[in-house]
Subunit: 246 residues, 2 copies
Amino acid sequence: MSSAPPPEAAETDLALGRTIYQRVHERLRNDILAGRIPPGGRLKIADIARRHGLSQMPVREALQQLQGEGLVILSPNRGARVRAMDAAFIRSLFDIREALEGFLTRQAAACLTPALIEQLRGLQRRYDAAVESGDLRACSPLNREFHEAILRATGNHEAIRLLNQHTALIAALRGRAGYAPGRLATIRQEHWALIEALERGDGAAAQRVHAAHVRRAAEDMLAMLRAAAPVLLPEARTRAGLLRRA
Amino acid sequence: MSSAPPPEAAETDLALGRTIYQRVHERLRNDILAGRIPPGGRLKIADIARRHGLSQMPVREALQQLQGEGLVILSPNRGARVRAMDAAFIRSLFDIREALEGFLTRQAAACLTPALIEQLRGLQRRYDAAVESGDLRACSPLNREFHEAILRATGNHEAIRLLNQHTALIAALRGRAGYAPGRLATIRQEHWALIEALERGDGAAAQRVHAAHVRRAAEDMLAMLRAAAPVLLPEARTRAGLLRRA
DNA sequence: AAGTGGTCTAGACCACCTT
DNA sequence: AGGTGGTCTAGACCACTTA
């Protein structure tokens, strides 16, 4: 764990967004993605409002936005929870990624210019450097930027938006699970193979490399989560849930 | 307008949802999908609130939800508009459908039971009957149900949710564009070909049929919209009759 | 029966656009 | 400056849960 995170001194940090609900949105989003509010964890409007010195409505708006992103489940008269994720749901996310990103990767092979290929090489070299210097913090953003650079070539911004949302959900888990040993090195090889296929303009090969890439990522994450298991189970308020029938 | 509230059978009753913002959400959603509020059209919170006899907050919540579904664009301090759609955006939607639904269709070929195949046949027979009897109103829901039945076999509910959202966006346009002549008959052939491939368990063939199906749908819709063109352009300074100060 | 916590209202506030 | 219309607050209201 990192040391000395000023616990409450960070109350003045809400200076980024322009409206209040945007700032609350960003704040909660960061808290969820950093794992400070675990999957299945409850988000109480009154609590959050009090903690930030606001009334309840902007908090509600922020929660609605998060629901739109899929990070939060909001049930009428019941409140909000961080989306709980089980193995089937995680598999769904990775299948979506394989299908959608794979399709666009194939398209990209037909329209990548030499300049864009060179840009990919540059990004991947920075990724390599980050792995070698042990700067793990820098890896995930570079990984994401690498793939997004490919997608942008297709001009399908709607698909990119969807994929980014799902990346956020996965990142929310990654914070708890981490990477398996050796995974980062494998990613390097896979990315270079992808660059090679794209450079040849071989869309089918690029899609195959991408599919294998995503499947390995999925298996890796499922294995990590199985190891650090109990966090994932929906939640354990114990006896409460069992009296459902009545 | 504001008068004559009590015996209104005219206003479709808001009796369905359980909370107010849910009912407003459903109402606005229907208005948009039915084309009563055109793409690019403005949604004024105060107007809507007054019209329904509510305060502004539940209306805001409803708009946030619609933004989450992608039907509405909400910009801070600027208000809400129905998402405007140009040709590039529509192409993006159909590419997403081809990629995601095609992938799942391929998966489904491996796990469809004879009973499910028979269910598909039943749905498609009802579709055929609707086309032949000229009941065009019934076609779109049956079409949607046919594809969703296939997708459900894969168990990927998250993907189904995404695809349904995008179907809604397309339906919002369909209301204005309609179908090209003969399109409905072509859809019949394509669906039967899809059933046949699925029955053989030939996922690759099913995906090919699906891809062709979606591409034809995309070209058809783009042609229809090109014919009925000007509606699509973002908007045209029409400050006609809305603001009537007397 | 009381408590917790989500939902709704009325109106003040303020950002942005028009004159 | 004036106006339009989106945003925020405080508190009442009410659904659902706990004793």
